[in-house]
């Protein structure tokens, strides 16, 4: 039964939706932790230090996230491959002008996100949080300092803004799609969910993007929180 479900068209979609939902919740959690950056290193560093102190717990969470992430991608690749084959001979004259851009770009924003994630993990997760890159004004500011120094580079700021806007775009279709694929539809609430999905996508992108811009500004004016 499980095999039949995974092999079916709807089953695959629903697993993509459920893993997508888990990733959305992770993104929300990540975003709320990130917003603590605006309060300075004392407030922000508390959380990364806390999860690092759990030791094996952190590895379990990381492995779980990675499994969800790769399941989401693997199933999507399988679905997209079937979709590409399903047309057969391509249209010569098809008019897709009423197609939503976010929806159309889903596989591509997904691919940008994958690349972005690799860069992001290399920038912050794999670095020594109290190493030389975390030193601001002669003192290590932990992960906060790492973020501060990373966004001194305008190229990286641009890269992160592109990354988080791909994420926002991906979510603006993704959130409403989860609801439909898991089988919920309502004449009144479905249109509201569609608007909320788009709004949330923009909000997530803007809030995430505010961080590189903020640190880029901080680097220019040369001020930082040294407690």
């Amino acid at each position: 039964m499980i095999k039949q479900y995974i092999q079916s068209q709807i089953g695959k979609k629903q697993l993509v939706a459920i893993t997508g939902l888990a990733l959305i919740l992770f993104v929300m959690f990540h975003l709320s932790a990130n917003l603590l950056l605006f309060l300075g290193p004392d407030y922000f560093n508390f959380f990364p230090e806390l999860i690092h102190s759990t030791g094996i717990g952190l590895r379990v969470i990381e492995s779980g996230l990675a499994a969800v992430f790769f399941l989401h991608i693997g199933l999507t690749v399988a679905l997209v491959r079937q979709n590409r084959k399903a047309r057969g001979q391509q249209y010569k004259s098809v008019d897709y002008s009423n197609r939503s851009i976010a929806t159309r770009l889903m596989p591509y924003t997904g691919m940008i996100l994958l690349l972005f994630l690799a860069i992001h993990i290399n920038d912050f997760v794999l670095q020594d949080h109290s190493g030389v890159k975390s030193i601001v004004g002669g003192e290590s500011l932990g992960l906060y300092g790492l973020v501060y120094n990373a966004f001194a580079n305008p190229f990286r700021v641009g890269l992160y803004v592109l990354g988080v806007f791909s994420l926002g775009f991906h979510l603006s279709h993704g959130i409403q799609s989860v609801v439909q694929t898991l089988g919920y539809s309502h004449p009144k609430y479905t249109p509201i969910i569609k608007h909320m999905s788009r709004g949330l996508g923009v909000l997530v992108a803007v809030l995430f993007a505010s961080i590189p811009f903020y640190f880029s500004y901080m680097n220019i004016v040369g001020c930082c929180y040294v407690s």
Binding site: Q9, K13, L79, Q82, R99, Q180
Partner: protein
Amino acid sequence: MGKRLDLTLRIWRQKNTNSSGEFVTYDLENVDVNASFLEMLDVLNEKLTLSGDEPVAFEHDCREGICGSCGAMVNGKAHGGEDKTTLCQLHMRHFKSGDVIVIEPFRAKALPVVKDLVVDRSALDRIIESGGYISVKTGSAPEANQILVKKDLADRAMDAASCIGCSACVAACPNASAMLFTSAKVVHLGSLPQGSTEAASRVINMVDEMKTNGFGNCSNEYLCEAACPKGIKVSNIAKMNQWYKQAMTNQPLSE
């Protein structure tokens, strides 16, 4: 007599399933604006026949928008893109003199071109054969109030039942998915007392049959709903998604 149009038609001509087709350009003058799209093609075919050429093959039957036989991509839109309109109900008043009209068959690997604009829609029949029916004998028309049906469910079944199986949803879907068609049949039968007994096996079998026939997956773009000449809603797809999940986990199907 109405206004007249001079048109340039670019029509997909293909001898049979195995041959490779191509667009052929025809000039057609003096087309009545009150003609339907199929009547315009009739005029062209008359002209082609008289000049000894092969007429353009296209499928049609009722020409009233209720049988689901006709259909083609007109300027890149299934059935021409007018709201809730089949190709036979598309009228030439929507075009201007001097227009170039591109006419291409519906395309999906599961719906191969038979000739010119005619496609083989047997794949949709196979989906119906896999579960789009009820096995119990319902006998002759019973007394109307013998089996009570909730009004909202009766409405939902009736709306879903208006699907004419024209395959415009498959043609308009960027993934050539048959989800709107299949969901209309699943929801139509599953919403009513006589059809609900087999609803779980029906949804599993019909969804599997879609894949077997090589239709694509739903990516929630809703171009099917926009193209549907009968206004079938994508809420049917959501209902089918829900029922499929419940059927596969042996839960009772929700209303």
